[in-house]
Structure formats: structure tokens, C-alpha cells
Symmetry: C2
Subunit: 221 residues, 2 copies
């Protein structure tokens, strides 16, 4: 027992690595969310002094960039049995959505971080190439891409925090009692049953793809 402790004490701890730091950060983020991550907490977690982190990461922004890179580069955006342009686009944004749902803080991370890894542009490349096939020019295809991303990220953000983060229409309307009468349609929509995020996502993507198809596939009719 005593010898063992001695042995342990003699073992020099291996130096911390950059990837251990990033992994530690992701562990905290997955468990407790973006606000729980501080340099101090992370260092404690790794049983290091706060300043030890600065040997492997130049500051907190850098740390967050590493986390973003790590998470985004894991995602496979391309539908390898590709075929229909609609399915390639749908698959790609579904992959983005799934990645964000698996690590809910990434939506805000993406907004906060100063420079994102180039992997974030894979969905854009896929979208542009798919829309080129149906005759969209690159500019309009870019606009279509931003339409798709904005919808996807917004939708995930809603799924994670509620619409506009944390306000469900029901709750908000109940809080502002006086106004209930002025939102009759919302009242009706709310009492109309459960909200299915999966379905709402597919609905949104379909509406957008329909709109795009109408624009570029007129010959097809």
C-alpha cells in the first residue's frame, strides 16, 4: 500500500496535450452546457492549474474554435448513394441538424466563435453543386443555401431552447394574460396538439425545396 503510493508519487505525470484539453472541454459542454465552461473549471477538471491550459491553447476563443472544429469535422454531410438533388440536400441538412441535437451547445458555439473550420462549408458546397444541376446560378444557389442553413439552425435552436430560446407560445401567452384575446389564431394552433420537431423540420425543408423547384425546374413540367 505504502510502496504503491510511493510508486505513484514517483511516476511523473505525462504533460497535458492539446487534445486532452479539447476533450475535457467537450466533456464539460456535453454535461453542463456552454455557460458552465470556464478556463478555471476546465483546469480543475483536468487537475491542472488554470494557467497550464495556456500552454496548449492560446486563449478561450482558441479553445472554443478547437471544440467547434473537432465536432464539425466528425459530421458526414454527403449522401454517398446520392441520386436526387432534393435528397442530397435534405440528407446534408439532416446531418447538420443531428449533429447539433447531439451537442446542443454547438448552435450558440457557431454563433459565438470568431473563425470556424472550413468543414462548416461542406453543406454549402453540396447545396451549390446540387442546385447547379437544376440550373440555378451560383449567386441564387448561395442565397438558397443560406435560406436552408438559417432555417435548420433556427429550428434546432427552437428544439433545444424553445422558440426564441425559452419562450413557448403557451407560456408567454399565459404570462401576458390581458392579451390572450388578441392572439386567437395562436391559441387555436396551440390547443391543436403536440409539436413534432422531426416533422416540422421535414416540412420546412420540403417547402423550401418546393419553392426552389418551382423556380428552376419549369422545363420539367
Amino acid at each position: 500500500m505504502h510502496g504503491r503510493r510511493n510508486h505513484r508519487r514517483v511516476q511523473k505525470r505525462l504533460p497535458l496535450t492539446r487534445s486532452q484539453v479539447v476533450a475535457g472541454a467537450i466533456r464539460i459542454l456535453d454535461c453542463e452546457g456552454l455557460d458552465a465552461l470556464s478556463m478555471r473549471r476546465l483546469a480543475d477538471n483536468l487537475r491542472m492549474s488554470t494557467m497550464a491550459l495556456y500552454n496548449h491553447v492560446s486563449n478561450k476563443e482558441d479553445l472554443l474554435q478547437c471544440v467547434a472544429k473537432d465536432l464539425i469535422e466528425r459530421v458526414d454531410f454527403s449522401h454517398h448513394h446520392a441520386s436526387d438533388w432534393r435528397e442530397r440536400i435534405r440528407f446534408c441538412f439532416r446531418a447538420l441538424r443531428n449533429a447539433c441535437l447531439a451537442h446542443p451547445y454547438v448552435v450558440r458555439l457557431i454563433e459565438i466563435v470568431e473563425t470556424l473550420p472550413s468543414a462548416i462549408f461542406v453543406p454549402m458546397e453540396i447545396t451549390l453543386s446540387a442546385l447547379e444541376e437544376i440550373g440555378a446560378d451560383p449567386q441564387e444557389a448561395s442565397r438558397a443555401y443560406f435560406l436552408l442553413t438559417n432555417f435548420t439552425l433556427g429550428q434546432v435552436s427552437y428544439e433545444v431552447h424553445g422558440p426564441f430560446s425559452g419562450v413557448e407560445p403557451e407560456k408567454a401567452l399565459r404570462n401576458a394574460k390581458l392579451d390572450e384575446a388578441s392572439f386567437p389564431h395562436i391559441e387555436r394552433a396551440i390547443s391543436d396538439g403536440e409539436w413534432d420537431f422531426e416533422y416540422a423540420f421535414d416540412f420546412g425543408i420540403s417547402v423550401i425545396l418546393d419553392g426552389l423547384e418551382k423556380r428552376y425546374c419549369k422545363r420539367g413540367r
Copy 2:
């Protein structure tokens, strides 16, 4: 001179009011953005001690809620010379967009704040009522509403910070030099001319409205 100073010194300062606190916060936000607003800075700005604020606002979250309420309730979302359902919807989200562009921090404010004023639901009510006219059921109309808001807010966020906040495709691609070859479509799209946010916004709304129209106005053809 001496008498005047004395006079001023005798005047008891009127007590701070809640609306002065909110106005002070908006002043800081407009000039220096969301990150610049702290209770301490605001108090300094109002020439009060930090803790004086807590007599008029229960905490920072409450302050931010007041700011959000103040800004959102100023917006006029309804097109009074209404007519076409498309125009009513377009007007409403254009109003939301303009408000956000005038106070760029509101996009993040909306995401951060725990409880938003019920005025934020005016666009939803307008959208639901417009879509009911063309035969959408309340559930689908809600989904359409979220599609429209997510797009609008995402687009504004892009206009204010760059896509995903602060990363322009050009910049990101230049940073990740190796990969330039793997994003040929993006390269082409970028070299294709200036980006017109106004146009991109209208494009997105139109694509969405086209998609919705296709869904619900089949009889009309």
C-alpha cells in the same frame, strides 16, 4: 457662479426611474453592443452606484427583458392597407428585419432572454391568420411561421456578423488554404459579385411563400 453652483448642489437629484435605467441600457447597447452592457458600466453611465439599479430592476435578466420589451413593442408589424396574404406576411417579416437591423444586438438578445414580451407573437398571429385564408391548418401554419422567423432572424444575424457570425466564406476559405480545391462551387459563387442582403432576404421570403402557395393553393390553378 458661486451661487449657481450652490443652487445646483442644493437641488436634490430626482430619484432614478425604471425607464431611465432601460433607456440608459439601450444607449450603451446601441453604441457598443451587447457585451459592453454590464450593471457596473450602466450605473457609472447614470452616475449612480451599481446597487442603485437594483431598486428599479430586479437583476440583469430583468433589465434585458425590459430592453427587449421596449424595442419590440415599438415595431409595427401589420400592413394596414392589407390585401394579398403574401404581402401581409412579407411586410411583417420585413418589419421584424428592419427592427433588428436598427438595433443589431436584438437578434442575440432575443436568444438570450428568458421571457419575451407577448408582442413578439404578433408576427406569428399575422402569419397564422394569413395562411388560414389559403386553407392551411393551424399546425402547418405554425410550422410555416417558424420557417419564416428562423430564416429572417438567421439572415439578419448573417448581415450583422457574417454567416455563422464573423466568418465570411472568402475569409474562411483563404484561412484554410489547402482546401480551396475542395470547394469549387463556393469559389465560383464568391467570385461572382457582391452580396445584396436586401435581395437575398426577398429571395428567401419568396421561395418560402412559393413553397407554401404550391401546398395550399392548388385549387387556384
